[in-house]
Symmetry: none
Subunit: 198 residues, 4 copies
DNA sequence: GATGAATGAGTTTTCATTCAT
DNA sequence: GATGAATGAAAACTCATTCAT
């Protein structure tokens, strides 16, 4: 019988449901406001149930961060699907990243903080790797073959992420940065980056 | 008589002592671990005493952030004292900023978060303004006069801060970023930035 | 299975137990001395437990006031059960009220204060309404039909409550008011009140 | 030299100043909000200074209650100055009392509470006695001589105070009691009281 | 598998009071 | 005579977690 599988499926669904409930709280009220009590109120299960699916709150937060990167990766997939020209593609990716950080402020902050905490002990989690790799790949393609020195590429990759991340952070602090300015700054920055690839 | 002055000095010293005790906790255990109880244990005073020198915890944190910017400004002053060439100067400033963010990780995070929170209601506090202004000025000087369009400069200023901030963030997450790589990335980024100034 | 019911019953019992523990503290030490810590010491549960049954201290106090009015209503029911003559009945009711206020001094004060606080925002709670209505009804019956003007009755109702309340208050301040005097004063007052109904 | 006297005068003035500062806080924010810190902020002296003029907070509150009765007595003096007819005079006195309780709600509550607390140990303070006596006297005069039985009068006195006090209390709880209704109820009540004097 | 009940440790804050100067 | 500094005790409340059922 498929009873085992059904159970497994149920388990997964429950895991997912809790995670998305938590996600909603984070999106709406910020990640500092996410308490297990609050979470239990939002889902139709008891606070204790969370411990059946997650080792503890920390584990839930990590999974939340991973979910965030999943969504980011999906957004990138969607927004860059048809774009073939490598440089346009890179541009679109980074813009998607910036949009994500800007619009999902609280989730983005969670992803950053969890990333920092985890970094001290563990390897990056796979969804984050996927993200980094896709940026990496885009950079590689945007360069001509002749430049494809590994260290070189890696640095370019970091720089591009840094720019986006920096812009996102600034946006949170300086209110005089309207969306258009930011967009043009991103364009500008990516342009010089791409120019520097040659 | 100097009695009044002595008292005022004592008061200031106490304020400073508490602030630095808090700073130590932040530096050693991260800013989330800073509680008034912990703080009271570290100084040789009661928990209540803190309220004689700070209105509440929030006020303490703000002062902590300001102290952080003070230290950052001082570092910049020291490191860039003798440098006259505008571009070298800009470079040195940004490098100092990056070093600060890298070495004073927890303080830096505190500064960021407080900056974000305050931003929603209040104007930036003066120490932060000083920092932003000094970067601004450096950028302005690094450009030739013919380019000195205000919006243009402001954007360049933001971009340069963004790069540094982004690099700092990345550094907190990706451990494979050694100091040298980072340094070169900064060089690289600043170089393209400066080239783009022309 | 009755498991659910049992739990519900337990829950109710706990609610009631806490409430009565709080009531005891109020009765013995006055309502200003009722703190959650103290309460937790008196019941054999942790301070936190209270929050499982009451939203916060305010909610506990409100429930306490309601309990007070319940007890008052019950006393009135018991003491006036067999009395048919409307005026005797009214007299008995008011006397019961006065006795209650006199003997349950601290609870009575709590009921007054909570009543005042709540009044500013909410409607009166049902137990209080029951009380007011029963007085109202008694007054109405004590009057002949020909006088049954609404405003008129309402005022008489207020006056009768005012007399009782006033006597109760006086009693708390002036110790030379022995029970007998007070009783006769109430008689006196009610008599004039009833005379004035004609 | 009058130095001693001057000092005594200063002392008295200081006592009075503190008291009136406290009074203002009570009037504006309610007596529960009166803390020594708050008080120290309002006067131009330190919190410690209060202890030079009052044994402790309790003593301050008692003096505050006495001050309240002083003001009440003064109001009565003013409002009833010219009124000779004994019954009109009594009426005017009680109305003044009701007005006071209504308009100086917080001070009135303080006076009540302190009165209750003190009652348990000490004799009434003189200002309160003055008040009670003046009511007493008015009642006595309102009666014809033939009725001047002591106990009888005392009771009438209490009853009249009870009515006023009760009306004042009701007013705090029942918001549907507008000023006019209340005024008429007082008239009504006093009228039956006076009728009953015969 | 699921949960309601319970808790210990922790949080920030306020207050009346004391004491050395 | 006056005060700034300091404090102990207490307040209400929140949270992540455990455990018996």
């Amino acid at each position: 019988m498929g009873s085992k599988e059904r159970k497994a499926r149920n388990r997964l669904k429950m895991h997912k449901d809790i995670l998305h409930a938590a996600l909603n709280i984070v999106k709406e009220e910020g990640y500092r406001s996410l308490s297990l009590r609050r979470l239990a109120n939002n889902i139709e299960f008891s606070a204790t149930a969370v411990y059946l699916y997650f080792k503890n709150k920390e584990a839930l937060l990590v999974d939340l961060a991973r979910l965030g990167y999943q969504q980011l990766n999906i957004s990138i997939d969607i927004n860059c699907k048809g774009i073939i020209d490598p440089r346009s593609r890179l541009k679109a990716m980074l813009r998607t990243y910036l949009d994500f950080a800007t619009h999902e402020k609280d989730l983005y902050l969670l992803m950053q903080e969890i990333g920092i905490e985890l970094n001290e002990l563990n390897p990056l989690f796979p969804e984050m790797l996927t993200f980094v790799n896709s940026i990496n790949q885009a950079i590689t393609k945007a360069c001509g073959k002749e430049n494809s020195n590994d260290t070189y590429l890696k640095r370019k990759c970091y720089i591009s992420m840094a720019i986006v991340q920096g812009l996102a952070s600034l946006n949170l602090i300086h209110k005089d940065l309207d969306a258009r300015s930011q967009s043009q700054m991103l364009d500008d920055a990516i342009d010089s980056l791409i120019v520097s690839l040659d």
